[in-house]
């Protein structure tokens, strides 16, 4: 498959998925639509988890922290300042980024499992703070009664599940597009290089810690936007929305989807949420068992996640096609030594998350 054909195929898939997503409110009942809006919100948090875990190499269980900060900030602005959606989204992004900027010194010098533990602690402390700080967060009773938003000044109020879903879809699409643009820019190149070999980056004069800190704050901003969208989609907030189970589901979804792929992260998160919310309806009380089975299966069948394994399979097909067209070519299994390059034209561009 040539590069152009592959790009076309991806474009067709993206347009098809977007078309189905736009048509959802007319195809399903309001309850399912509102459930899908919340799935989109969690998908966006999954994007921030993938950005940190897969692209920057900082595995995280703490994105519920900036997610909660964005949600409470958006809710408080909605209750006391403005019902304009853009204002709430920008407030959520700023709150998420600020939260990440305050916690980044704890995270950015650690690596691997230690990052997981530190971010887990940050997430848990955030939930505890949200439960105790009653005057601001409403404690375990949560915040309710947020007025319906209008997307921008002059537009009508979003007073139905369908309208709120479409608004959520638009904001999530815009944020995901921005994330993809950044990852395809030199900033993405530097992050992937930092993940690949940090020592080599430092030996080339790169301030790796600064890059990772910037990625962490950007991830916080994305999670903060998702938090403000949760307020819009759900119109109610409580600390239970940011518990450890959400952190674990997000990481599980990103690992299943493929941590280096933003599309895979959204799809994986959606799959996990679907299993939790829908399949558990068919098998009451067995959702954790189904999720566990799903994870074990994925770990065995798709060790690099569904998106990563799909890319591997596509590369294998391209490699075989090339070998068939050039019978003299020793193929991909030739031991790599000092001879000519094992060049695979199918993989001649770097892996860009998408």
């Amino acid at each position: 498959m040539t590069g152009t054909l592959r790009r076309r195929l991806i474009q067709v898939i993206v347009v098809g998925v977007l078309a189905v997503a736009v048509a959802v409110p007319w195809l399903t009942d309001p309850y399912t639509t509102s459930l899908l809006a919340r799935t989109l919100v969690l998908g966006l948090v999954g994007v921030s988890v993938a950005l940190l875990t897969g692209v920057a190499g900082l595995p995280t269980l703490g994105q519920t922290g900036p997610y909660a900060a964005g949600a409470y900030a958006g809710a408080l602005v909605g209750l006391h300042v403005s019902s304009v959606g853009v204002v709430q989204v920008l407030t959520g992004a700023a709150a998420g980024a600020l939260f990440a900027a305050l916690t980044v010194p704890l995270v950015v010098y650690a690596r691997g499992v230690v990052v997981l533990m530190i971010t887990l602690a940050i997430g848990e402390l955030t939930v505890t703070a949200a439960s105790r700080w009653r005057s601001v967060t409403g404690g375990t009773d949560g915040l309710a009664g947020m007025p319906a938003i209008r997307p921008v000044w002059g537009m009508g109020v979003l007073d139905s599940d369908q309208a709120r879903y479409l608004y959520t879809l638009v904001v999530v699409s815009v944020v995901v597009a921005i994330v993809l643009m950044v990852l395809r820019s030199p900033a993405g190149l530097l992050l992937r290089a930092s993940r690949d070999d940090e020592a080599r980056m430092r030996a080339s004069g790169h301030p790796v810690t600064g890059y990772l800190a910037a990625a962490f704050v950007a991830g916080g901003a994305v999670a903060g936007v998702a938090g403000s969208l949760l307020v819009t989609a759900q119109q109610y907030l409580s600390p239970a929305d940011f518990g450890f189970d959400i952190s674990a589901l997000l990481l599980l979804g990103v690992v299943i989807g493929g941590a280096t792929s933003i599309g895979g992260a959204i799809a994986g998160t959606a799959l996990v949420i679907a299993v939790r919310d829908w399949v558990s309806g068919q098998l009451p009380g067995h959702a954790p068992l189904v999720l566990g089975g799903l994870f074990v299966l994925t770990a065995y069948l798709f060790p690099r996640g569904v998106a990563g394994s799909a890319a591997d399979v596509a590369a294998l097909f391209r490699s075989r096609a090339r070998t068939r067209s050039r019978p003299g070519d020793p193929g991909p299994d030739r031991p790599s030594g000092s001879g000519p390059a094992r060049t695979d034209p199918a993989r001649t561009r770097s892996e860009v998350p998408g």
Binding site: S185, P186, A187, L189, L190, R192, A193, R195, D196, D197, A199, R200, M201, R202, A203, S204, G205, H206, P207, V208, S336, G337, S338, G339, P340, A341, R342, T343, D344, R347, T348, R349, S350, E351
Partner: protein
């Protein structure tokens, strides 16, 4: 010739083991200096200390008239210390050309690459391709580095180190795992390097050392044994003793 690098009585300990024990090493501008010694002599640790990957427990390291003892590896790279690792260190998910571009990034302006990415990268592209041509990797410029052979990765890392325009190049066993053709290419490349670049070479192949080095320093058990010209070192009884002890 003025002194470019001056490592004075540098020491590094790992628990009860002293990997580098009060070693003093001076390299002048443009010099090709080789560091030899049996396995475990402390050669790579000394390179780590000079490159900043490891901090010295005692002693002082000066570079271009500046005390760099407390500087990290990124700051040392930015002032002109380039490094080639024992195992080729490249960024596997990037193409060969991208590897060289990212390695040249800081020298070419750093933050400008993020602010005006298109113009910045097009400015990096030609020099990167020229460097890949110099190390014989033109054909694989757009290949993912993970798909390159060991020898090609080694050549790529050399191109990456040169892209940072170092004043001192630290080479840790650059010929390890290379075919004879690739070794010959490496020798040619290093011989043709401008004398604006000084070289500190760690290498087990003594034929390469004697062919390339102006000065040779011998380490044994973390201690300095001798420093001199290649002929002097070849005939030194102290050096023979050090190697004989290591074999025993």
């Amino acid at each position: 010739m003025s002194i470019l690098l001056a490592a004075e009585a540098v020491t590094r300990r790992y628990g009860s083991l002293t990997a580098v024990d009060r070693v003093t090493l001076r390299i002048t501008e443009g010099e090709r200096h080789a560091l030899i010694g049996p396995n475990g002599a402390g050669k790579t640790t000394l390179l780590d200390l000079i490159g900043g990957a490891t901090r010295a427990d005692a002693g002082r390291i000066g570079f271009a008239g500046r005390d760099v003892t407390r500087l990290g590896p990124a700051r040392r790279a930015r002032i002109g210390i380039g490094r080639i690792h024992q195992r080729p260190a490249v960024w596997p998910s990037l193409t060969a050309r991208e590897n060289v571009e990212v390695a040249a990034w800081r020298r070419a302006g750093g933050l400008r690459g993020v602010v005006t990415p298109g113009r910045f990268r097009s400015r990096l592209r030609e020099p990167a391709l020229a460097l890949l041509d110099r190390v014989g990797l033109t054909d694989v410029a757009t290949s993912i580095a993970a798909h390159l052979s060991h020898g090609q990765r080694r050549q790529l890392e050399i191109a990456m180190a040169l892209a940072g325009q170092p004043r001192l190049l630290l080479l840790d066993e650059p010929a390890a795992g290379l075919s004879s053709v690739e070794v010959q290419r490496l020798v040619t490349l290093l011989s043709e390097l401008s004398r604006e670049v000084s070289v500190l070479l760690v290498e087990h192949r003594l034929d390469l050392v004697y062919a390339l080095a102006d000065t040779v320093t011998v380490l044994h058990d973390g201690q300095h044994v001798a420093t001199g010209g290649p002929a002097e070192i070849r005939d030194s009884s102290a050096v023979r003793r050090a190697y004989a002890e290591a074999v025993r």
